[in-house]
């Protein structure tokens, strides 16, 4: 990695981060991993490839809702940003098919905790 300069840091506008991009984030802190986030993350990567669904799948830290881990946050154009909780392998696949491909939200897994 090249050395950063002050300008590199100052020129960044945090408001523009990920503007207009579609992504899936999986909470991968200890709490999430303990609840099975590793498996969910691997499933998302594998199944997205298998099904030719192009979306940026990332890891992130703990969102705070530890009682409903693993947490998966999904942002797809035209739909609100959604936080899914208690995500299993099967739910992860449904998220890819139903939410990402068909732009329909899933019943019973959305958590709006503050």
């Amino acid at each position: 990695m090249k050395k950063l300069t002050k300008e590199d840091i100052l020129s960044v506008d945090p408001a523009k981060k990920d503007l207009g991009k579609s992504w899936i984030k999986v909470g991968m802190s200890t709490c999430g991993v303990a609840a099975g986030a590793d498996e969910v993350y691997a499933t998302l990567i594998d199944e997205a490839k298998k099904r030719n669904i192009e979306i940026d799948i990332r890891k992130c830290g703990c969102q705070g809702a530890c009682s409903v881990e693993p947490l998966v946050e999904v942002n797809v154009e035209g739909l609100p940003k959604v936080l899914y909780g208690r995500v299993t392998k099967d739910v992860a696949i449904t998220i890819l098919e139903r939410h990402v491909r068909n732009k329909k939200l899933l019943n019973d897994y959305i958590f709006e905790i503050n």
Binding site: V12, C62, G64, I113
Partner: protein, 580 residues
């Protein structure tokens, strides 16, 4: 009309079947109005409201209605969905009670990517400090902000930094205390795992301010993922030139290293922590001299908690005055709590100082599990105390919690309901402190053990009233005479439970009864013949074959064999098993 989404949720925990009727109602109305293709109806799992009836949220306008009836459905579709008109009498103005400052990047950025941290505005504070600010300006900003240590004691951060800055020494050190060990607390772990660069940035700024060129991350070895991510962050910062010599061309040098804690709770105490980094046995030593005068290798040292350091970048970018605009008179900013125990939504919450305990437990935590009654809240872990439910409306800050006999602590918050026994709770925390006492000073080593013996005696039904005075006397001696915070505060759970729940202790001592049914020696299970339907479920589930009888004759419990596990009590569908 543009596309819309309707979220649907029944917020009454007692009536989970009702939501399907509403789903059908909405579907039918949408079909009749020819809106099926335009409106998506979604049942969601949590809408952030509790015990407020059926709630809907209409997106993208973010309109929330609560307590809706069958008859409101048509109106909502006609007025709000079709014509964007708000129905005032149903509207719920939902305001988030949480303020995310320390946790703002947790769950937002990729913790293993420095680019992502910078894209979210990271390291701007470092640039600002290195180009525009002198060390004394940083201290001034901290003073204006009123930031106090988040590790528990609440010492003003600016004073700590200013002492160390004023010391004339060529070598000084910055230490990040990541030895989080309170049972049920994991705020620091989440910050280190979710946003390691913010803590790194805070440490570099601290180094610049006090004139230090070397810092240590002290992280407990039980947090392997945190250690891995912090190490990655350090490597990335070195590669990018944010650690090392001549950082960003300013002439300031700083390096960072991780040291692992080997699992002793007492190493979270600053003098023991220093001994541990030096490679000595982790035991505390008397203060003064304070670490800011004579710390690591006898050089001036500042030790800050993870959360304190994670507060620094945003504080510098936004300014001290902005930081101080949140909070109470003497406690500024936000605090992260690990909300656990008998609460519905356990997890991490970040709230402004001055919020009430009731808001945290009921509005954010969603109330108590199984809708039982709340009895008390425990804050501050084994060094803290309990706060009974009468004081739920107390605003949370360092002073208020102290007045109630508890402490802010590092941020553990445990909800206790009517099925928890306070004697048992005091015993649990005391046992933890007895196990973790380093043994160096007598008040902690002997006092803790004696307290535990007395509590065990009480919970076994052998207590006497004089024991209450003994508990108080020993507790007092430990508070006054112990060497470090561990011993001084180990008796806090005992003190505060006696203060508020003396009646419960007396029940154990005089009546030989445990009202919550937790203390096994004082609990008896009995099958009530008049209620028993002779189904035999209790017998099937008894792990110790203590239930005798048959489907014809009925069942009885053999007290000799009963291990008081409560399995029969839990499985009986007819409430025929009695616990007393």
């Amino acid at each position: 009309m543009e596309k819309k989404i309707i979220y649907l949720r029944d917020t009454d925990s007692a009536q989970q079947e009702r939501i399907n009727d509403f789903f059908t109602l909405f579907s039918n109305e949408l079909r009749d109005a020819n809106l099926v293709d335009l409106v998506q109806l979604v049942k969601i799992a949590d809408i952030g409201l509790y015990e407020k009836g059926v709630a809907v949220k209409i997106l993208p306008e973010n309109i929330v209605y609560s307590g809706i009836k069958n008859t409101d459905v048509k109106k909502i579709i006609e007025e709000t969905v079709k014509n964007n008109k708000i129905i005032k009498e149903l509207l719920y103005e939902k305001k988030s009670k949480q303020v995310r400052a320390v946790l703002k990047n947790c769950g937002y950025i990729d913790p293993e990517s420095m680019e992502d941290y910078i894209a979210a505005g990271g390291y701007k504070a470092l640039v600002k400090v290195l180009t525009e600010m002198k060390p004394e300006n940083v201290v001034d900003e901290l003073k204006k902000s009123g930031l106090r240590g988040r590790g528990g004691a609440g010492y003003p951060t600016w004073m700590k930094w200013n002492f160390a800055r004023g010391m004339n020494s060529p070598e000084k050190y910055v230490i990040c205390n990541g030895d989080e060990g309170d049972p049920g607390a994991y705020m620091d772990r989440s910050v280190l795992e979710g946003d390691p660069h913010s803590v790194l940035e805070g440490m570099i700024i601290a180094g610049y301010t006090i004139g230090s060129s070397k810092g240590f991350f002290y992280i407990r070895a039980e947090y392997p993922l945190a250690v891995e991510r912090v190490q990655k962050a350090i490597d990335q910062a070195i590669a990018a030139g944010l650690l090392g010599n001549n950082i960003l061309g300013s002439g300031f040098n700083f390096e960072l290293e991780i040291r692992l804690g080997a699992g002793a709770f007492v190493c979270g105490e600053e003098t023991a922590l220093i001994a541990s980094i030096e490679g000595k046995r982790g035991t505390p030593h008397p203060r003064p001299p304070y670490p800011s005068v004579k710390g690591l290798w006898e050089k001036p040292t500042i030790i800050n908690n993870v959360e304190t350091l994670a507060n620094i970048p945003a504080l510098i970018v936004g300014g001290g005055a902005k930081f101080a605009s949140i909070g109470t008179e003497k406690s500024k900013g936000t605090k992260v709590f690990a909300l656990t125990g008998k609460v519905k939504n356990s997890g991490l919450v970040e709230v402004p100082m001055g919020i009430t305990l009731r808001e945290i437990i009921f509005d954010i935590g969603g109330g108590i599990l199984n809708n039982r009654a709340i009895k008390a809240i425990q804050t501050g872990g084994p060094s803290g105390g309990v706060i009974p439910q009468e004081f739920l409306d107390t605003p949370v800050d360092y002073e208020n919690l102290g007045k109630l006999g508890s402490i802010m602590g590092s941020g553990g918050m445990i909800a206790i309901d009517e099925t928890d026994c306070l004697v048992d709770l005091a015993k649990f925390y005391l046992k933890f402190c007895v196990d973790e006492s380093c043994g160096k000073c007598a008040p902690c080593r002997l006092g803790g053990y004696q307290l535990l013996r007395i509590l065990e005696k009480i919970s076994e039904g052998n207590g006497e009233l004089e024991d209450l005075n003994r508990l108080k006397k020993i507790s007092y001696a430990m508070q006054k005479a112990s060497l470090c915070g561990l011993g001084q505060s180990a008796s806090n759970p005992v003190f505060s439970t006696i203060r508020y729940f003396e009646e419960e202790y007396k029940q154990h001592i005089v009546n030989k009864k445990c009202p919550a049914g937790k203390c096994k020696a004082l609990v008896y299970f009995k099958i009530l013949p008049q209620k028993c339907k002779k189904c035999g479920l209790c017998m099937k589930n008894c792990p110790s074959n203590a239930i005798l009888g048959s489907r014809e004759a009925g069942y009885v419990i053999d007290p000799q064999k009963c291990i008081k596990c409560g399995a029969c009590f839990d499985v009986c569908k007819f409430k025929a098993v009695m616990k007393e």
